[in-house]
Symmetry: C2
Subunit: 737 residues, 2 copies
Amino acid sequence: MTRITANEFSGATFRPQQFVQSERQNSKLNIEQLNLFLESSPENAKLTHDLITQVTTDPVLKTGSDYYDLDKAQHRRATALKIAKMALYMEEDIQMAFKKYRNHDVVKGLQTDEKYPILTAKDLGIFDKRLSIISNQDPQLGTRIGVHLGLFGNCIRGNGTDEQIRYWLQEKGALFLKGIYGCFAMTELGHGSNVAQLQTRAIYDPKTESFVVNTPDLPATKWWIGGAAHSATHATVYARLIVEGKDYGVKTFVVPLRDPETFQLLAGVFIGDIGTKMGRDGIDNGWIQFQNVVIPREYMLSRYTKIVHSGSGVRVATEPTLDQISGYSALLNGRVNMVMDSFRFGSKFVTIAVRYAVGRQQFAADNDKSGNAPETQLINYPLHQYRVLPHLAIVYLISPVAFKLMDTYHSTLDELYKVSSAGDKGQLKLVSMKLKDLFIDSASLKATNTWLVAAVIDELRQACGGHGYSAYNGFGKGYNDWVVQCTWEGDNNILSLTSARSILKKYADLAKGKVQETESFRYLSPELVMAVLRGTKAAKLDTPKDYFEVWGIMLIKMLHFCAKLVKETKSADSISKHLVLISRFHAFHSMLRAFYLKLKSPSDSHVSDESSQEVLWKLYRLFSLYFIDKHSGEFQQFKVFTPDQISTLVQPKLMALLPEIRKECIALTDAFKLPDAMLNAPIGYYDGDIYNNYYNEVLKNNPPEADGPGKPEYHQCLTTMLRRGFQGTENLAKLGK
Amino acid sequence: MTRITANEFSGATFRPQQFVQSERQNSKLNIEQLNLFLESSPENAKLTHDLITQVTTDPVLKTGSDYYDLDKAQHRRATALKIAKMALYMEEDIQMAFKKYRNHDVVKGLQTDEKYPILTAKDLGIFDKRLSIISNQDPQLGTRIGVHLGLFGNCIRGNGTDEQIRYWLQEKGALFLKGIYGCFAMTELGHGSNVAQLQTRAIYDPKTESFVVNTPDLPATKWWIGGAAHSATHATVYARLIVEGKDYGVKTFVVPLRDPETFQLLAGVFIGDIGTKMGRDGIDNGWIQFQNVVIPREYMLSRYTKIVHSGSGVRVATEPTLDQISGYSALLNGRVNMVMDSFRFGSKFVTIAVRYAVGRQQFAADNDKSGNAPETQLINYPLHQYRVLPHLAIVYLISPVAFKLMDTYHSTLDELYKVSSAGDKGQLKLVSMKLKDLFIDSASLKATNTWLVAAVIDELRQACGGHGYSAYNGFGKGYNDWVVQCTWEGDNNILSLTSARSILKKYADLAKGKVQETESFRYLSPELVMAVLRGTKAAKLDTPKDYFEVWGIMLIKMLHFCAKLVKETKSADSISKHLVLISRFHAFHSMLRAFYLKLKSPSDSHVSDESSQEVLWKLYRLFSLYFIDKHSGEFQQFKVFTPDQISTLVQPKLMALLPEIRKECIALTDAFKLPDAMLNAPIGYYDGDIYNNYYNEVLKNNPPEADGPGKPEYHQCLTTMLRRGFQGTENLAKLGK
């Protein structure tokens, strides 16, 4: 029995399709312009659209609802097949970037001809975007390629000499998903965030000019290494450099793991599978132990640290300014990408939950006494608006800052590469300062946005009721895949603490007359700080600008409070709970400011349509108000707002915006332009036909048994149980005593 | 290669075992007394201990780390085998409850002899506890039996006549997991919370004295029905009773689904599998469609609604006071159990995370400049204490209220059963009032505590870093299994709204002179309300009592605010966001008050040891302070505390308690007395040997490949990719134009 259609039936009727469609008919918004705003430019928007079409239709790459039923082994196999297909697309993407198609093999040139340039991040831009987009439908695939290109590749790019970069990434072919496949062996069983204390050792032997790599004890086992269990042929290994008995701290080395022809493990390399995880089981995370693995001296990545043989002696030469920071630079790429992921992944779940909220009906309105009125659409309940619409605002607010951060990352890293190749010390110092600000911003934005999106998925799943718990509507796997982003490549709490400590230091520097010139710290201008502390600058919510400035005021007051507390207690530990909030508020300020500047500039925003501009301003205000209200404890405690202002200003403004945005909620999610194949969640499909779509996907993946009766293979253990007799003791007298 | 032990190694050393052990040596607490406090009485504590031992050692029932690697089909089969084993334990448990072992078969008597009494909830008390405890290690098993006994069984018990109860539950054997197996067919694809609008129909045919059950359209398909896909032989079906064209609303019916001998589906019954879910895949949730399924009139559950044939006419007689409430009473049992589950499930994850925090080291202390100091234990960081220890307080605070709610539930339901059997109208009204309060309390406590424990699991997983993301440490499946508790058997938001609306109504009744006598609403005494509103009663935190009373003051102020707003706006919708908080705060008040009363009474608390008493008071204060701080927005907005009180009173008290409780955190988790086999998470095992335990479980479940090389079966698709040539176009000239 498939769909039931009983024409004579006069009971409750549901019209989810009509509800969703009528929202579209009544919308005043310009979807195209909103999409340009979200995708940052017409070129980007077109590329995004083309890539989405390709990855959702390619028969190897596409991801259907059967995806939710795969077991670990099936996920791993499917991911490997997809990697191989992505490799083919990569060559095209590089040709596209070079705009050379005819009579020319760009990849061959890059791989075999030394006259070709070293590839920049920009040259890989199209493929990076493809990867980012496909991660949205299959996050584990994104990680598995991302570990190779983003972590293994960027570790070499950030720490290797030009020759090493060319050798490993181009000549060997790594950048083209060719020749070798890399993994990133940083974390150990006993050490995660504290990279400086990693215990794997690389002891230099001057006679043979080689390193001996060893895992000294169990906790030093490399652990969680994505790709190690089955796919990687090489690893960038973080290990202590030990030369003539002296420990120079943790450096990076390329260590071969498997023969790329046969995939057999090399001598001295012991590898196992980490096994099942909360999510992303398509990634073959593994553990690695090294026993006297010998690698040539040339395999140490030597951009900032070199082994120098002079006469009979050996010494280690380092570039102190950048040696340490470069060790972490491989992680920067991931953090920047995770902010973009937050936008894309969040947009998926907001689309699903908004469409469901418009199509689903539940209970009659409060004022219906007849009992016959049609049930109310979920989205028309103020509580449901409060549960869903702020998440829409969150996703809109992530986009501008994500694109801005990506641009800053690319320009700063390009600059660093050029300056360090040229060896210009003065310029190096300038770039390293920019790099530090990039660390602060990316850390605070990574932590804040990955946490926000975890809450987005979790709360929107609940807003879809029981159907949100079905695997086929995507929330379960989505959440399980997502939340590791809060932990890996910089634990969110650690990132928040380190970025907030740097912000606190910048605040302290103000007193010493150091002015912050950088974009992200405009709120630390001496004028504003003085005005806030003197009480001549009060928070208000009159003009659009006020909505981001209020977070600057909040930050100044909290920083002032924390600086005082640290002075009194002589310990930064006592304020760690506040520091986490400072990092979060800094991110909110950056997000609001980036959105504000973009929307104010017609050439940046690409939005000329007035209704569309207006609704974007509403989302902007909603984001700020929602979080002022969520953090009204701090806003009152630090006297940015009075209790009465919360009751009469903030909350009424917040609640008044919800029904306004509700009117355009379908158009606002349509503007993400996510096809059903990307959503992969039938209760959120475009046509709004919730019940038929959902029912069909469930039946497709769970067809009733061929022999009809719905008997489980284990039914005998149940029938035996149901048929059993009694087990008590009766008529013992018969036995005598 | 298994463990590496290099004696000569002098690098960082980890001593997780010693850390955990030394906490035990330094503890002043009396673990036994704390355990009695948590388990409510010596008898209960002994029973709990015995049951835990049995379910963790029985080879069919025990759950090892291989559990995390089972796929859906394996989970379902394993669950069925466990059900069959539990059925055998059940007969013993009933004999134990009746204290009749010799020369007697209690179960046979109950099943076959009408002189035997109808079983009460108390008679099943031991088995219920067994089920509650085994749910802690395998939640899906708990559900699969719970649906049969708790939902199917209680639906019959709450809505059936004495004859129907005896017939289905005893004579047929359902209560003994015999003869028939039930499911609970309430929700439909299109209707969840709005039970009154369910669309399945049971049309009465007076001539044949039978009902015809039909599913009129697709959204009326019974959906999410646990046990329906493969195990249930019978269902209690919620369907509209239609007699002579008149719709009497939703009533309950027993409908056979499968032949219990052969498990074949009966005519007109169409069933399918709902498929994969976010968690609990061991439950065979299914969908059911009925096409003209005929059942005899006796299968309608008729305690409060009867079909009466009189002469040539037919009428429907109902008991209006209880007809509606009884429809929902089957859900009460689940809600009460979920509060107990919250205590037990939460205690597991708190134990794991606290032991890990004590054993795990990370970074050196702030004041170490040498770089050689051993790394600091996570638990010694104030931020980590703040992230972990309040969750310990939460779990401790759930226990007293959970036991109290369970007692109230049993006594109220017993009373209802007696009074309704006797047909005493006056008494019925009294009991129905008690039942209403039980609805309010259980709704607010179910919603609040299932949400709290979802946050406990999620935040503690993050506090265990990357290792928290491994399936083998339990957080992933734990979270996925848990969160459905926030949605099923009453969506948390809906439950919060309905309970808060009732509380608001009680507040409004005060003005009309109605005084609340019931235990849970002591804060609604006219004296307190007047004093708070007049400003003569201010919040303080001096004596222990203040720590729960402050929540009463908060509630009164919020209720006052909401009542005013509803009056002004004429709509309860505008305050729905506040209502959710009122329900939450009501639960906090109940939890604190129950804990306070228990701890104050030596005979109830079973704690005579002073250090143990003291630490319990600290947990009590921590719980209250943690949530005052979390909700400091409301506390300031409603002027319970001033901004300065938050800074100088609440937060310093909160932060000062953390290092105090930290000193006893291992003993406080040991007091839960959870064996490793119940924790099933190697980073949390008793001996604290984190790294060896975790490594061993990973290796046990992922043994390195027998042929050594670690080659995946899909390696060829990778080698083919890595070996591939170039795909660009070269030397086109050769082809001519």
